[in-house]
Symmetry: C2
Subunit: 491 residues, 2 copies
């Protein structure tokens, strides 16, 4: 889990305080707080529940995330003089000045949070967090808690779906910083996609703050910035065995390039010299980390040949090239072609290192295209980098968590809406998660305290657990589960 | 425009420095910067262009936003010792230590930005920003500039589309904080939707930092927190005319409620006393700002009747109720029904204030449902609050801006991709925007400097300008525009 690394804990806490000041809130929380205060109800004990109404992405589950930030937010929740002065300027002039004194003294010392642990698999309509405390205070917390949980849980769940589509072994890289909702959206995405199952991120700050492994080598701009082999500098490289005599890599690479062209029947005049220069220059800078992007011009006519020539040069000098990145075109087809060429080179030139070269695909990958890749390209080890579809959650860009009042002064409260979907289940709940021994069935019991009503939530389809999809079958399972299997308490 | 208000300029600048530290960057920018540095190319003058490839939302235009933050970011771009130490730990061990010294001394003093102004209507494939400077530095800026422009421009454009759908007069409220990508995503949304045409935000921090007018009154939790009229406190209210004798609002409201029920033929037993108590309590706290949410139980059977009773009480005491909020059900149908009841009350009780009550609709509004509202409910003044669909840009959650190298050492650079769509136009450009006198046609000329090539971009459909939709017609227009109309320089 991407918990803050030890030396950056303070930084994360400070960052939450700066990112989520108490004014980052909907105005109506303040107008309501005033109305509670004016009626003398602000200290009444109240309980809110945070949950979502539908599992995201048309799927059967979600992951819960954002709790750590919520707790840091609650710990730092306090109004400054400047905050209170601003509120005075936007609330109606009739607002009693004593209310602002009340706000100035507020904190969350009277608030209790019960929650499922960060990273838990959770389901629709089951409470994720229960926030209890003085009515006015717990009301004021709504927007910030929702803001911290909604996207964190959504992007974490999205990452988990990509992980399920990719299978357990394929390496997944998150690279969505430039496509997220601003800097903090990007950082949140890096953090919670790691919890959701991604191995790496391109985001250096996420590495710094949360200890997530970072990865990345080059963009097309690096390749296109080179024009000729004259720009390669230094033009020599020492062998890995420590031989102090540096070798002229230009001529070495040129030799390998003609041999590769001959092997593959390629036309040397179609090869881009600038691309070869870029690859060689990068290889000289990082002989142990050579993983260029090979589609700046043409993978088949130039990029792949240039890569092979430079990688063979590195191998001859005892270094170990890493692989290639593909960022456009048909990833399935290309990865098969590229792997075939690697095998040919490995066999023809007796360079077994070519068998363990990796292919990184970063071309507009979605959950679907990842599943397709798995199906079509079995046995070809392709690491996948995902940006846009992962961080913007294209399929459903909002989780829709809500924060609903369920109890005031020990009495259950409920909302009955014009949309039956939006009605709430009143009262504090004890949540039981019933699982049979083989985790083939799952069912939730929400026991409402005080009034002893039990709600049962059934899930039509949980891909993780291959659950039954009709209510009758679920009810049968329920009896089965209750009568013969263990009961585990979710919170 | 939501430029920072005078007293918060420093706050915004500090905020950008904290939100966009130089490590909030893709790792490959650093590996490339090192490779440039190692080859002695880091100081070579280079030019990048920032643009997007397709107009968002399947539409004909975008708005450009994020420039102000980009400039603040460039001004504060500098690595701390701590940043450099972290980079040392993640870059390959072979990295020359002198490179980190170089990083430590970097800033953007050698960088020049040319840009279209913030808030400009812009189009696909035409450069929005041109960033020129030392190759390694301008390379390092890519991710942050994209991150700051991409979402800001997207959400600003989305807001403009909502504004076009709503027409010029309808008041629009942004209320997406809880659905955005974390705290900063929410703040960015509030800021740039205001530039895009929204009048108000629910986000208090956006009011504080950018001077955007804030709005909001109450949520369902406030309504459901009340159970009986005994909870209303104080139970009296002074008249607006300054009469010192407070009036018993409970009995006054009860009286109005029976008259309203009689007028509308409603069943008094279906009316929720808790809801009436909530409305009355809020009205006592804010007699001039009474705008409750009326769908906590049932609009027709309870909420609307309770509102009318309390609003009539306020009117009798000389106060002026504001209106109602609808958050579920069919907004078109409900707003017609509510307006009809307001008119009935106005006529029957001779209370003309009821004619100017406002209706606020906040129920899952999309661009489409807004257009439908306009079509179906002509003449009913409904103010609209938009959250999820606005801030997550459901229809297209990413703009896809890119940052491409177009020149190094005065020589044009280009990328030719496996996807023709991803190829770039080489060289720095002078952009001319040709508009005919009636703004019925628009065309772009990109004159590439040095090599004197002219690219012409045609737009199939620009809803703002009712432009021609076939290439041949466009070419004819082009000749027409060039021969007889003014030429305006876009940047």
């Amino acid at each position: 889990m991407a918990a803050p690394s030890r030396n950056t804990c303070g930084l994360t806490e400070r960052s939450v305080r700066e990112r989520v000041p108490p004014l980052l809130n909907d105005l109506y929380q303040f107008t309501m707080a005033y109305a509670y205060w004016r009626a003398g109800r602000h200290q009444e004990p109240a309980v809110f529940e945070l949950f979502f109404r539908d599992n995201p992405f048309g799927g059967g589950f979600s992951l819960f995330a954002g709790l750590h930030d919520c707790l840091l937010f609650l710990r730092s929740f306090r109004f400054s003089d400047e905050d209170v002065e601003f509120l005075r300027s936007v609330l109606p002039p009739a607002t009693d000045p004593a209310f602002f004194q009340f706000l100035r003294g507020l904190d969350c010392s009277g608030v209790t949070v019960r929650s499922v642990p960060e990273g838990t698999v959770v389901f629709a309509r089951v409470p994720l967090m229960e926030v209890a405390g003085p009515l006015a205070v717990v009301q004021l917390l709504e927007t910030s808690l929702l803001c911290l949980v909604n996207y964190a849980s959504l992007v974490c769940s999205n990452a988990a779906r990509f992980r399920l589509a990719a299978g357990p072994r394929r390496r997944l890289l998150e690279m969505g910083l430039r496509r997220a909702q601003g800097p903090d959206g990007g950082l949140t995405a890096s953090r919670y996609t790691h919890i959701g199952g991604f191995d790496l991120t391109s985001n250096v700050q996420a590495g710094f703050l949360f200890g997530i492994p970072v990865a990345g080598t080059m963009a097309h701009s690096y390749v296109t910035s080179f024009n000729s082999l004259e720009e390669v500098w230094p033009q020599t490289l020492a062998a890995a065995n420590g031989d102090p005599e540096p070798v002229d890599v230009i001529s070495l690479t040129k030799g390998w390039l003609s041999r590769v062209c001959e092997l593959l029947g390629a036309e040397p005049e179609k090869i881009r010299e600038g691309e070869l220069a870029a690859f060689l220059s990068y290889a000289v800078a990082y002989p142990q980390n050579f993983l260029p992007v090979i589609d700046s011009y043409s993978v088949g006519c130039s990029g792949l040949l240039n890569f092979c020539a430079v990688a063979l040069t590195l191998c001859e000098l005892g270094h170990r090239p890493v692989g290639v990145r593909l960022d456009s075109g048909d990833l399935c087809k290309q990865s098969v072609d590229v792997r075939r060429v690697f095998r040919l080179c490995s066999e023809h030139f007796s360079i077994p290192a070519f068998d363990s070269l990796i292919i990184v695909g970063t071309n507009n990958i979605s959950e679907q295209s990842l599943a397709e890749l798995n199906k079509k390209v079995k046995g070809v080890n392709v690491m996948v980098g995902v940006g846009t579809h992962l961080v913007t959650c294209t399929k459903q860009p909002s989780l829709g968590c809500v924060y609903k009042l369920v109890e005031v002064r020990g009495r259950p409260r409920m909302k009955i809406s014009e949309d039956p979907e939006k009605s709430t289940v009143p009262g504090r709940k004890a949540v039981y998660r019933l699982v049979d021994a083989d985790v083939l069935g799952m069912i939730f019991l929400l026991k409402i305290k005080e009034i002893n009503i039990i709600c049962i939530y059934l899930f039509k389809y949980i891909p993780l657990f291959n659950i039954c999809n009709t209510v009758s079958y679920c009810l049968l399972s329920f009896v089965y589960v209750c009568s013969s299997h263990k009961v585990s308490l979710a919170k």
